[in-house]
Symmetry: C2
Subunit: 268 residues, 2 copies
């Protein structure tokens, strides 16, 4: 995997007081600052790289507290509680003296149990039969091969929005890269803002909090390889400057890998 | 509101190093330790009671790190970042020297914007036409008037589970109490474990992380008064010892108040 821009973007160096330092990556730049998914992956990677970590991530919440400036940052992961098979982490991302992101993570030694996913993958034509959706303008869009099935960004910003904001797409890293927890966390943020579908209007906005529940362990993610994932998201509540969405990601074979939710700020 | 068991249960006293102390409440006891919803409400109340708080809660995640022992606890809320109209909190709940829960919260000054909730309330007979569901055995169940419409706990623990785990119920505090952020956070945890519906088997389990997105400000919650809320939840992924659900809560008039997600540990 060496040489992949994702690995370069989430690379951390040990640095002082049980923390890490890292650098923002021009390859994952958004309109202002970095793609939120890469910030999420960096925060999670601080847990994954910590020598005291127990098990695999199960639940992960990242809060985007301020714009991340281009340049270096410090990550401070701390195990607030370690049990026999679970561990609770608090992470802070700092630039200068300012916190720019916070996160919590639950890691756990997962054991085989009864299983039976209830969120089934919707029927979809296979990814090789769906043309790649061309989306340009910012660097991070080039880092993902997206193939929209439903709920693409409005063609005309004419204010004639839709009643519903369901989007569904095939997506994988570009160039392809074997899936792991950090890249799956980043993929959970690929959904463009649901409010664009509802309003067909552009307005200043940004994600303020995102949660990911992982439904596979490290071996389960490895078996997904570098294939496409089917990703979908749907808006729920919109008002008072904030809206949320709920989403799911499946392997091409239909195995649920992650469920995710986020809330975005918007103006007007 | 004085004298309501919920107010007594979430009451906090200022105590050392910018923190608070509180006591678990027998009125909200669960099988082992307190009802998770009351622990969530206590963590959120530490933010709500903090003199430095800016605005109303928008996003709130609580992680149940260990069993909360009956008795006293300390809450340590800290504003990790304060912006012009938003604030990011980290909270730790401590007993002795051990962290038993962690939480993050985003509070914000909400402003009027375009709004248009997409998660619509399903049709349901009004609460006064639905008989109260009798659920006994632990104290906290008596603190809520629940009226199930769909997906009640299995009558027989015969291992013959259902394909789907959707539950829908009317619910309010008992005795009735005007809704606020703390009580709404607690109400987000009223759903019994989805895996009971799927398996019709009892197995050791517990919530490990819950997220709530609030879709109303303080005035919006006040207007809900002490009426019933329609609450629903549905499981998503089940495997490797963890499952999640996604849920929504509406006023009797059909206004979306909160969306919520949680992940539970289970054995076997």
């Amino acid at each position: 995997m060496s040489g992949h821009p994702f690995d370069a973007a989430i690379a951390l160096q040990p640095g002082g007081e049980d923390g890490f330092t890292g650098q923002t990556s021009p390859a994952y730049a958004n309109f202002i600052g970095p793609y939120g998914g890469i910030t999420a992956a960096q925060c999670l990677n601080a847990v994954l790289q910590h020598p005291g970590r127990l098990g695999d991530p199960v639940a992960f919440t990242v809060n985007f507290a301020a714009a991340v400036a281009d340049g270096s940052f410090t990550l401070r992961p701390r195990a607030a509680r370690t049990n026999r098979s679970t561990q609770h982490w608090i992470v802070e991302m700092v630039q200068g003296e300012e916190v720019v992101a916070t996160a919590t993570a639950l890691t756990a030694l997962r054991r085989p149990t009864w299983s039976g996913h209830e969120a089934h993958m919707p029927k979809a034509p296979p990814p090789h039969e769906v043309p790649r959706t061309q989306r340009r303008g910012v660097a991070w869009l080039e880092r993902y091969d997206m193939r929209f099935l439903l709920g693409m960004i409005p063609r005309d910003w004419d204010g004639q929005g839709a009643e519903e904001s369901l989007s569904r797409l095939w997506v994988r890293d570009d160039p392809p890269r074997p899936l792991d927890f950090a890249s799956l966390a980043a993929l959970c943020d690929v959904f463009f803002p649901r409010i664009w579908l509802r309003r067909a209007r552009q307005t200043p906005l940004g994600t303020v909090s995102m949660t990911v529940y992982f439904h596979a362990d490290a071996a389960g993610l490895r078996s997904a390889g570098s294939g496409f994932l089917l990703a979908q998201a749907r808006g729920q509540g919109f008002g008072g400057g904030y809206f949320d969405h709920t989403g799911q990601l499946w392997t091409e074979q239909g195995t649920l890998l992650a469920t995710t939710h986020q809330v975005m700020y918007y103006k007007e």
